[in-house]
Each structure stands twice: as C-alpha cells, then as structure tokens.
Amino acid sequence: MSQYVSMGESRKAAPFWRDERVLKVLAQIAFVVLVFAAGAWALSNYRERELAFSFSFLDEEASFHLAEGIEFSPTDSYARAFLVGVVNTIRVASLGIVFATLVGLVTGIARLSDNWLVSRIASVYIEIVRNTPLLVQLFFLYFAVILKLPNIREPLVWPGPIFLSNRGVAVPALRTTASFGSWWPFLIVALIGAGILLILRGRGIEHTGRPNFNLLWVGVPLVVIPALGWLLISGDPLWLDLPEMTSKSGGVLKIEGGTELSSEFTALLVGLVIYTGAFIAEVVRAGIMSVPKGQTEAARAQGFTGGQVLRLIVLPQALRVIIPPLISQYLNLTKNSSLAIGIGFLDLYAVSATMLNQSGRVVEVFMMIMASYLSMSLTISLIMNVVNRRIQIVER
C-alpha cells in the first residue's frame, strides 16, 4: 500500500528536471546559448582579422567597366554598379518568366495532345531538358551556338528584320517621339472607355445571365480613340526602329537601329526559357490531368464545344493546382538567373562578384546579395499569392 501512496506523492511534486514545462524552457535557453556561442566564436575569428565592417565603400568610385544595362561609367559609385546589376537581373528574370510561361503552357498542352507524334516530341524535349544541368545547357548555348554564329559583318537574317550574329541579336524597337507627350492622354481615355464598357457588360451578365453585347465591342474604344488622336496631333507619336545593314565609309557593314541584345543576354534568356519552360510544362500537365475526366465528359454532354470545355471547365479547375508550383518555378528562374556569371552576363550576382574583388568587402556585399534575392523572391511570392487567392474557388 505504502508503495502506491509514495507514487502518488512523487507525481504531485515532480522534480523540476522532469517537469515538461521547465524542460521546454530549458531546451530553448540551451539552444539559444548554443547558437549565440557559435555566432560569437565565428565573430571573434572575424574580428581577429581586423576587417572593418561598414557600407561606406558604396559611395566610392567603382573604377570598372560594365558593358550591359543602364548607363554606367567607371567614375560612378559602387552603389550605382550594384543598381546596374539589379536592373539587369530584373530585366532577364521578368522577360524569362513571361516567355517560359508561354513555352511551358504550349508544351504542357502538346504533351497531352491526342496526336501521338506531338506528345512524343514534347516529352522528348521535356526529358532532355529536365535531365541535364542548366549550366551545361547555358555553356552549350553560349559557347557552342551563339558564339559560333557568323560574324557581325555577315549576320544571319531571320525572316523579318532580325539579325543574328556572334555579337548578339538585333531586333526592332518601338520608340517614342516628341509628339508622344500630346498623344498619351488619348490612350488613357481609351483605357477608361474600355473599362466602363467592361463594367457595363459585367452588370448585364449579373442581371440577365447573359452579356448584352459582344466582348469585341470593348475593343472598339481601344482602337478608335488612339487612332483619332494619331490623326489629330501633328507628327507620329511612335515609330518602329528597324535594324538595318548599312555600309559605312570604307565598305564596312554595320547594323544600325533597332535594339541590340547582347549575346550573353540572349544566351541566358533563351537558356532560362528552355529550361524553366520544360518544368512549367510538367506543372501544366499535372494540373490539367488533375481535373477528373468526368468533368470534360459532363461538359461535352451538356453541349459545350471543345474550346469552351477547356476555357470554362478544365482551365479554371486546373489553375488552382497549377499556380502554387508555378510560383516556385518563377522563383527558381529568378534564382537561376545568377548562373549568368558563368557566361559573363552582368547580372546582380556577377556585378557583386566584381565589386567584391575590387573592394574586398566580402561580408557586406554578401548581405546585399542576400537582401536583393530575398526581396525579389518575396515580391514574386506576394504577387502570385494575390493571383492565387483570386483564382481559388471558394469551396463548400
């Protein structure tokens, strides 16, 4: 009997080293102490090297050249150099996201095609690209394809005014003129007009269950008002700058006009699009396959056409599955753009590496790299999460 009693007593007053609540607090304290000790040890090692920690070097003269992106001269500051890198990364990543989505969407649908050959071609592309490293693909594209293109004096002429050479790609550019200032208000008015029509149409659908006019009517103000403005003001507000082969004095041929994309930029963009496109294709395929076949069949039975089934039934449901992995593909693409340094494109990372070599401020520059990538990742996540919330169907 006494045994039981003593057990009861010991339960009442458990020694503190066996009390779960105490243990939990102790575990956290121990963990924090451990992390701090490791940190302090690392810091003391760093201090021994007597390296100053400050960001003041950012105002100093960078004294190196950057051949890509917004204007930069060697007398500009390190901060400006970093900005050049950030802008270049954003440029390649945003274009990459747009094109990779297109490639992925087309390939993903092709992969599910009824046509055996089309789906085979798509799956061969996906398998090859997904099973080789991106850096190898980039090296191949840059060193073995783009740098082996003909010299700038005899470029390949793509159908249309596009010139390919080992110096890069020259493409047409849309440029504004002095009269653009008096033209853009027309654009705003056109957008407002189209918006009002869209709202009116939405109201009609709400009231009667069917639109009271065709969607095409919304496009009318978008076309008519800017065209009216174009006629009313003097001089064209926009012009298309086409690249052209011109022979300068001495018979040297030169490409003039248009926008020239450097070979590094082209290689990186194409490489990222091909690589991420294959991954997005798999995401799209999985999304579409997640919609039960019965949904398609039921829709067909109700008389929807093939296009309507895809647009109204399958895609809205597939998108719910597609968006979350798509976000992580976009994030991957942004992070993978740092491989630019392998082929000499001056992205955020490559510029930072140069800054690091010049200034020797290892820790500071790495903090800036981390902060930039983290803020880009967060921005993409935020935007896509908003999209995701709009698309999610409210479930019962």
């Binding site: 090692n45 190898v136 090296f139 990538y373």
Partner: protein
C-alpha cells in the same frame, strides 16, 4: 436463348496498326496537319543531329580525354583506388538488386554495407598521410572530373540528411525560439541561389574560422552544398512529418512513450519512408547543381570540360565537349528518375 449470334470482327480500320494510326495520328483534319508538321520537324532535326554526330563532329577530343573527364587530375598511379571504389559501389548495387525482396538480416546487412561503404571509399580515395607507403595521401584538391561530381552529390545529400531532419523537427517544434530560428534558416537558404551560398562558403567561411583551420577548396564547396541542401531536405522531411496522422502520435503517447521516443520510434520511421522519393528527386537536382562548383573554380565534370576546350589541339570544339558532358548527366539523371518512379510504386507512397 440458344440462338448463336455471329460475332462480328471489328472493322479493320479500328484495330491493329491501321486502327492505331487512325486513332492517334489521323483522327481529324487538324490532327492530320499536325502529324505531317511533326514528321517534317522530326526529319529536319534528326537529320541535322545525325549528320553532325556521325560526320561533322570531331569526337577525338572526347576519346583522347576520356580519362580526364572521368577522374581528372587524380594520379594515374593511384587509379586502382578509384576502380576499387567503383567496384564496391557496383557490388553493393548488384547485391541490393538481387536481394531487393529479402527481409530481415540480409536487408540489415545491406544497409550496414551501404553505410560503411561511404567512409571506406573516402579513406580509400584520400589515403592517410603524405609519407605513408600504404595508401599515400591524395589531397581533395586533385579530385576532379566525374568522380568529383559524384562525390559532391553523394556527400552533399548524405551529410545534409541529419541536419535536414533536425531542421524539420525544429520547424515543427512547439518551442517558439527553436521554431523561429529553424524557419529563418530554411527560408533564407531557399530564398537565395546556390551559387551565392557556394561563393559564401569559398570566401566568407574562412573569415569566420580560426586562421589555423584551413579547409581545402573541395571541403569548402562540400560545406556549402551541405548547408544549402539541408534546407531543402528539411522541407521534404517536413512534408513527410505532416503526412503522419495525428492518431499515431496520440496512440504512442497513450501507450506511454515520451515525446522523444514517439518521434524516434513511431513518427520518424514512417515519415522518412514517405519522403524517400522526394529525397531521390532532390538528389537528382543536387547532382545537376554540382556543376555550379565549376564557376567557383573546382574541376568537376563541367570544370574539366571547360579546361579541355582550352587545349591547343582541340581549340573551339565546344559543341562536342559540352554535348558529351550533357549526355553523361542525362544518363545518370534519367536512370535516377526512372529508379525514383519505380521506388514510388514499390513503396506505394500516396496510395494507402
């Protein structure tokens, strides 16, 4: 009842080769169009590839440098050590294949064999001291080629595994401090590119270590890969932990196990089994990502390829060299992803 109706054969255009062709290639007018376009596309692409591979390519750059691609600067005199290591792996793989259905002690011995093989191969490849006659030291810095690629990937995934499990448990912990610190680590690493982590381990890590502790370039790269990979392992393991039903915890607690034992005996074994396919997937991407060490100056398969392209007699043969590297990566990754799919079926993950 007894009337025998004649069973008609299906029309010839609906079955067999003809039926297949009609169904898959020529069902509608746009399908027919697509088929012809595809055939034209395949013809053009295949012809270009085949004429290059069979006629124009100068493959002697690969054949003369084959050994360089495989083991790089590893001393030829010590080549047998690489071959023996390879032999151990192949032997274990074959044994695993033979006894794949076996249960009990055989299986346990295989696991022990695999676990022992790693340090064994490590010792074999690295050797003891510089002076010793038996297995003289081959410093990590001369490890290169495909060998280095494989070592980086395998060590990266194996070393990151325990760290990843701890991080995953930390992130799911009820203790706020531990949870926050683990989450911050995981999200920080996942938010930045691998190349920046690799550079950090090359340049920043030495600054935070005592000057007398000098790590070789390969060791620093391995540290970087491990720290990076651990964050991804942690997320995979966390997924596995989340898939274990709550009843398992409750039942184990009701039986009288404390929280630590519940984790070790009940939850982790089930969770880790569920994440095996995800870990294989992670291994594939880590294997591909090892190429990034070429940027920080290591001579992995891609780094070797870069230096081979610079050889005087083979100048400008980028296509051949990089195509060869790509094919090697493709073979490994394709086999691995095939194995991972088989494994997924065998484990029945997601089917229960």
């Amino acid at each position: 009842m007894t009337v025998q109706s004649e069973v008609l054969k299906p029309p010839r255009t609906e079955v067999g080769l003809l039926g297949w062709l009609k169904k898959n290639l020529f069902s509608t007018w746009y399908n027919i169009l697509l088929t012809f376009l595809s055939i034209a596309f395949i013809y053009v692409v295949l012809r270009a590839i085949l004429t290059w591979v069979l006629r124009d390519a100068r493959w002697e750059v690969v054949t003369t440098n084959f050994q360089v691609f495989m083991i790089g600067r590893y001393p030829i005199k010590e080549l047998w050590r690489v071959l023996v290591s390879l032999g151990i792996v192949v032997l274990l793989a074959v044994l695993t294949w033979i006894f794949r259905k076996a249960e009990g002690p055989v299986r346990r011995w295989l696991v022990i064999g695999w676990l022992l093989s790693l340090p064994l191969i490590g010792i074999l490849l690295r050797g003891f001291s510089r002076e010793s006659t038996f297995l003289p030291q081959v410093s990590e810095d001369v490890w290169s080629g495909l060998m280095l690629t494989l070592i980086l990937a395998v060590v990266g995934i194996v070393a990151s595994f325990p760290l990843g499990v701890v991080l995953a448990l930390g992130r799911r912990s009820e203790l706020p401090v531990i949870k926050v610190l683990c989450t911050v680590y995981i999200e920080m690493i996942r938010g930045v590119p691998l190349i920046s982590v690799l550079f950090m381990s090359q340049l920043m890590l030495p600054l935070f270590l005592p000057p007398e502790l000098r790590l070789s370039t390969v060791m620093r790269a391995l540290t970087g890969m491990t720290l990076f990979s651990a964050a991804y392992t942690a997320e995979n393991v966390r997924g596995g932990l989340a898939s274990i039903p709550r009843g398992q915890y409750e039942a184990a607690r009701a039986v009288g196990l404390n929280e630590v034992l519940v984790m070790i005996l009940i939850v982790l074994p089930q969770a880790l089994r569920a994440v095996i396919p995800a870990i294989v997937g992670q291994f594939i991407s880590l294997f591909k990502d090892t190429t990034l060490v070429a940027i920080v100056g290591l001579l992995d398969l891609l780094g070797i390829a870069k230096s081979v392209v610079g050889q005087q007699e083979f100048i400008g043969l980028h296509k051949e060299v990089y195509a060869f590297a790509a094919v090697i990566f493709f073979i490994f990754c394709y086999i691995l992803s095939y194995a991972s799919r088989r494994l997924e079926q065998a484990l029945g993950v997601g089917e229960r």
